[in-house]
Symmetry: C2
Subunit: 230 residues, 2 copies
């Protein structure tokens, strides 16, 4: 029996969430075309991790697109603003917010998807990002999907339908880790830290390291890539 190949495009960051989505999409029968973004992030280790995850989790392909968001400034992830550390971090949208990041990434994923002739785009946005990043909320994703179906030739011609799949959107970090472990995700390949120490290990003190630690604690499993002792 010849299966129909279902292609999907996935923005892949090198972190836990997109690594888990890669495994979920493969489990759903998609061949996954991973797309990473060199957007001038000061954390260059992220891009190496993305390549490691794409290879280790059997993506069908992996391309990195250079798009220089650092020309715009405005975020601790691309500019010379310190990454917030430790307790007492401000509530609301964090300093590590990158302007329109998911919109830029989804738009490049959309261009790539149309080139591949597919409308299926997966993205690892999740519930714990809601409070901070506007472009992780379900109403944003829905509006993006509506726009995308008006934007591209093959969708307008009825050949494909753009669907933004967000399998993590209502999961806790603990549930994400648990699901990833079930699917055999090797989290030692992933890097979550906003500001890793020079040898590439997690700092253990930024918001992203905090969420990662919470995820493994909730799932009741040890992190295979632990932070350095504090």
């Amino acid at each position: 029996m010849a299966d129909i190949i279902k292609k999907a495009v996935l923005p892949l960051s090198g972190g836990m969430d997109s690594a888990t989505v890669l495994a979920i999409a493969r489990d759903l029968g998609y061949t996954v075309h991973a797309l990473s973004f060199d957007y001038g992030q000061r954390n260059r280790a992220e891009l190496h991790c993305a390549a490691r995850v794409a290879s280790g989790q059997e993506a069908a392909s992996h391309v990195t697109v250079r798009v220089d968001l650092s020309a715009f400034g405005g975020s601790a992830l691309t500019a010379d603003i310190p990454v917030p550390k430790g307790a007492g971090q401000p509530v609301g949208i964090p300093a590590t917010y990158v302007p329109a990041r998911n919109t830029v990434f989804l738009s490049l994923a959309l261009a790539y998807a149309e080139t591949l002739g597919t409308g299926d785009i997966f993205i690892g946005v999740n519930a714990l990002d809601y409070s901070g990043y506007p472009d992780c909320r379900p109403e944003y994703i829905q509006a993006y999907e509506t726009m995308a179906n008006l934007a591209v030739k093959q969708a307008v011609e009825g050949k494909i339908r753009i669907t933004i799949h967000t399998p993590l959107i209502s999961m806790t970090k603990g549930r994400i880790v648990a699901r990833g472990m079930e699917l055999g995700v090797d989290y030692s390949l992933t890097l979550s830290c906003y500001d890793p120490v020079p040898d590439g290990r997690h700092c253990g003190r930024c918001a992203a390291c905090g969420l990662r630690a919470k995820g493994f604690a909730e799932a009741g499993v040890p992190d295979p890539a632990p932070p350095p002792s504090l």
Copy 2:
């Protein structure tokens, strides 16, 4: 009296339409921050013209962002597909369509606008593009605006409202030229051609050259940057 500075972001291609929009936005009292895209287009002269237009038409700033759409292939503008020439070109969405181009460009303009603290984005989409490019239609622009207001921090916090201004959307090419001439646009700085001859002049035979010729003919003025004799 101190005027409030109204900033706007404008994707600037080096062609007639965005040059005209620059003049319209300035006439409306905006200081215009022009944004060009090095997306691997084989027509490199386009980027030089954008810089010339930004300078000649008094943009407040001009930045060029590199975003490598050629990695995806799929268009005569970035890949090794011949640009259609002469009469009898196919109807429908043309071969020169770049996947999700306006979505990618508007998304980068959105990121830049938020960094500048403004929600005003101008774009030179127009009526004559309707038949060919889905991402030039009013329903697309409206869906983009809805999405954008859910996407970025300052819009979600109510500090700005994203508005995608499309002053050319219902104009004919002739009306665009006439309006530009009224506002003093120097069209000799612009380049419309999809496939210019090596010295940078218009080929005079592609669809873009055809539209340009039609615009000047309808406006009843000579093109200051004429194509080579055929």
